[in-house]
């Protein structure tokens, strides 16, 4: 059947809209790149849209040569690696344990997990607990509170239930213990799911500025995103002071 003229116009319209959307997403990165490769005083005059006008590597040299920024990157990388692998391990272990449908108290434990998804104590009691446990102002505040994710556990649980039980039962008959089944059957079969959840966890760690801003005070512990956030705040303070000069 041939497409009607109206449908063809619709098709064209969709393609145009999609192209516009892609430009609106990609252009900002191109723009930032151009500005970052331009000298600052020149960029401030405006007019740098696609291509640097007075080209320089100096901005990158400053960033990479800065001890504070390099250290911040180190913190970010460390927390992303440790937090992601640790988080997947703790969460997968729990999901696997709870995947045994005949496990006594299973319902109770699942409810115990579910409640935490619906209600929480709020920021202040959480912060006080971090202080009490001695986690505040240490590197581990980035790792330990986030090791277990209830949401990810339910995703994993659903996935594990999709694995044929016969596989697990035959391994049990061959004398494999739970740990061995987890490592040799569940993990290899869950690789795509683990990769996806691992990616989301890693992105979460990489992008988190909040815990660095409020749970640590030691500048040696701040991750990159917190460093960037502090710059934003500093700009605001400068703006306030500058605007106050005439008054």
């Amino acid at each position: 059947m041939k497409a009607t003229a109206l449908e063809r116009v619709g098709q064209g319209l969709i393609v145009v809209l999609m192209v516009l959307m892609c430009i609106s997403i990609l252009y900002p990165f191109l723009y930032m790149l151009a500005i970052s490769l331009n000298t600052g005083t020149d960029a401030a005059r405006g007019g740098v849209y696609l291509w640097p006008r007075s080209f320089t590597w100096i901005n990158y040299e400053i960033v990479l040569g800065n001890e504070v920024i390099r250290h911040a990157y180190l913190v970010t990388i460390a927390r992303t690696v440790v937090g992601t692998f640790g988080g997947l391990a703790v969460t997968l272990a729990a999901a696997y344990g709870l995947s045994y449908k005949r496990l006594p108290l299973r319902k109770g434990i699942l409810t115990y997990v579910l409640i935490t998804m619906l209600f929480n104590g709020g920021l202040v009691p959480f912060y006080i607990q971090l202080v009490k446990l001695g986690l505040a102002n240490t590197f581990w505040v980035f790792i330990i509170p986030g090791l277990f994710s209830a949401w990810n556990m339910f995703v994993m649980l659903k996935f594990i239930h999709g694995i044929p039980e016969a596989l697990i039962e035959s391994a049990e008959l061959d004398g494999a213990g739970p740990l061995r089944i987890l490592l040799q059957i569940i993990v290899p079969l869950s690789k795509p799911m683990l990769a996806a959840l691992g990616l989301f966890t890693a992105v979460g760690h990489w992008n988190d500025w909040f815990s660095g801003a409020f749970f640590v005070t030691d500048q040696k512990l701040i991750p990159v995103q917190t460093f960037l956030q502090q710059l934003l705040t500093a700009q605001d303070i400068i703006r306030q002071t500058v605007s106050c000069v005439p008054c």
């Binding site: 969709i14 999609m18 892609c22 723009y31 115990y112 209600f119 607990q129 209830a150 409020f214």
Partner: protein, 297 residues
């Protein structure tokens, strides 16, 4: 019972870390809510502090608090009105893209901003909107207009939040809808074509009904978040000049609690918003059970 539990000792051992973590970081803080009714100061013990009744709830007489509630609702309703339908329309459009390579390209690009932090988004907005050579003010200047200080403007703050939120998440939020669309039986479309249904009719009568269950689940899940706008996005873009409209419940708790040390009062505010959030979840879940026959639990 114990014999059976012993049989599962390894499974319990594997669950144990999760149970301990939830206890330490979720349940202990829940018990810590009593701070809302006590005169707690950091350094003293929560259980040993004196009960002060509803003293910490005196914020209800603070006009600033009501302004903050108003800001929160304003922003979250705006974000919902634009942010909820947008990914549905985008998913329907992406689904109509016929060229497979172009389709995959559009999808990948649309997911991209989701992976950048709100801090990075704030920097992008800043570089576009700044008075010092930002692209937007550059153009306004060329067209003969007066430059606008977007970043410190109370009028432009909400549009900035809504549009940057859309920009960052709309593509990512299409994933669920596209997945739902892919499960629709292609035979339905074939049959509709034979019956002479055009594209629009196919979308209206097959695609949209096919993703209705997904739409309602996403709706249920997004209603409770109406009470918390997400400080992640707001805080980086809030500054002294736009605080009047930018201050929301989460930032109010943060400022009074962690930064100024009014722990009791901040916990009380947090408690009120948690309870409202919980009520919203339970209510939407009940309604969904009545209408769809099934809820989230």
């Amino acid at each position: 019972m114990f014999a059976r539990m012993y049989k599962y000792r390894w499974q319990y051992l594997m669950i144990l870390p999760a149970v301990v973590l939830l206890f330490l970081f979720n349940y202990v803080p829940m018990a810590g809510i009593q701070i809302a009714f006590k005169d707690f100061a950091i350094g003293s013990s929560i259980w040993g502090s004196h009960w002060v009744g509803l003293d910490n709830f005196s914020f209800v007489h603070d006009p600033q608090f009501w302004k903050v509630v108003q800001n929160t609702l304003y922003i979250s309703v705006l974000k919902f009105v634009f942010g909820f339908p947008a990914p549905i329309f985008l998913a329907l459009m992406i689904n109509e893209v016929t060229h497979p390579v172009f389709k995959r390209f559009v999808q990948s690009v649309s997911y991209l901003p989701h992976f950048f932090s709100w801090i990075v988004v704030a920097y992008i907005l800043q570089s576009f909107l700044t008075l010092d050579g930002g692209l937007v003010n550059d153009f306004i200047g060329k067209l003969g207009g007066e430059p606008i200080f977007f970043l410190g403007s109370t009028d432009w703050f909400r549009p900035m939040i809504v549009s940057s939120g859309l920009w960052k998440e709309v593509g990512w939020n299409t994933i669920l809808y596209l997945a739902a669309i892919s499960t629709i039986d292609p035979q339905l479309y074939e049959a509709a074509k034979v019956e002479g249904a055009g594209k629009i009719a196919q979308i209206r009568h097959i695609t949209v009904p096919g993703i209705m269950p997904t739409i309602s689940i996403v709706l249920i899940l997004s209603i409770p978040s109406l009470i918390s706008v997400g400080m992640d996005q707001i805080y980086p873009m809030m500054n002294s000049a736009n605080q009047e409209v930018a201050d929301v419940l989460d930032t109010y708790v943060l400022r009074n609690g962690l930064q100024q040390g009014y722990f009791g009062m901040a916990t009380a505010v947090g408690l009120v918003s948690s309870v409202i959030g919980l009520l919203l979840v339970v209510t939407t879940n009940t309604i969904s059970k009545k209408i769809n026959g099934e809820g989230l639990w």
